[in-house]
């Protein structure tokens, strides 16, 4: 089994080193790749100086395009599973082995680390939880599946998911939309309880003014994805 950790990084010079070291320590059975999304700070220097495994994007693609680069890398290098882990240290790598087990035992195509099964650890802000609940309900209404944490960035996919995401992945705010894409293709998604930490550096990609755009864009994307028949392009 070849397992890959995809770490998208945009301006993460302060935490990328700690995150990668933690991954090497706590998830040694995984390979990792950092995708530097054309950071404007010293992220690239940190990656080079510490001889990390990285891909350097020559233009800023945003989170979706960066993560997709990781899936392309996983696809071309014959990885069996790929998992996204945020560079800012929100996601604890100790959960990865557990997620891998869950994937085998449940025979799932994707495992999502959810904050809202046991409701422990950092629970996000009140406003965000309202948004997340809304997406959970929307996805349940359209697909019948209950995903308690559709915005979680901690997601592990098998070869089928890697192949699909390498071909087609949303450009911005990809999580809820891509969940619907998988469910519509009959793939099985399971969630496991995790605790997340508050980010250790950097800022969330979603601020107050962007949240209106976020809600509208993701809602539209989910509705469109829901009416798209599998296998576009």
């Amino acid at each position: 089994m070849k397992n890959l950790i995809i770490i998208p990084a945009f301006n993460e010079q302060d935490c990328i080193k700690d995150t990668v070291e933690m991954i090497r320590r706590e998830a040694p059975e995984f390979d990792y790749i950092v995708i530097n999304d054309h950071s404007t700070d010293g992220t690239l220097n940190v990656l080079v100086d510490n001889r990390m495994n990285y891909i350097n994007l020559p233009a800023n693609l945003g989170i979706g395009g960066a993560v997709q680069t990781g899936y392309l890398y996983a696809y071309e290098n014959d990885y069996d599973t790929a998992v996204q882990v945020d560079a800012d240290g929100q996601h604890d790598p100790k959960y990865l082995a557990m997620m891998l087990d869950a994937m085998k035992n449940e025979n799932a195509d994707m495992i999502i680390g959810s904050r809202f099964i046991e409701n422990k650890g950092f629970q996000s802000t009140f406003a965000r939880r309202i948004g997340i609940t809304y997406f959970t309900k929307l996805i349940r209404m359209l697909t019948g599946a209950t995903i308690t944490d559709p915005t979680s960035g901690l997601r592990m996919g098998n070869r089928k998911v890697i192949e699909l995401f390498a071909k087609d992945y949303p450009r911005d705010y990809p999580e809820p939309e891509s969940i619907v894409a998988l469910l519509k293709r009959g793939m099985k998604i399971k969630e496991v309880p995790v605790m997340m930490r508050e980010r250790q550096g950097g800022v969330s990609s979603i601020n107050l003014e962007k949240s209106v755009y976020y809600m509208i864009k993701v809602s539209m994307a989910i509705l469109i994805e829901n009416h798209r028949q599998g296998g576009k392009k």
Binding site: I55, N56, P58
Partner: protein, 117 residues
Amino acid sequence: MTVQLRIILIILILLSFLLFIHRIKGQKLALQYSLSWLILLIVLFIVTIFPEVLEIVSRTVGIELPINMVFFLGFVFILMIIYNLTSAISRMSNEIKDLTQRLALLEKKIHDDEKNR
């Protein structure tokens, strides 16, 4: 349409047409994306020269003042042009994304090969 307005319109249309041709010749504009502008200018030119055409058309459609027909036509054309631009931008942004990813993956491969040598 008054004579003064027609003269002003004709001058403006001719100037814009010349500007477009000049920019296309100098390869500052791609003909592919300027074509709709040129067609817009030609249509506007025809209706300014032969306002009778415009009067017949506007009467059939139910627009009282022919000049409003000019504005209406211009507006429809501009919406079409903006639509074309939106679709061109969407396509290009996808192409740029694909190229960026391909380039980065190749660079990574070359880098790894050098290390393993």
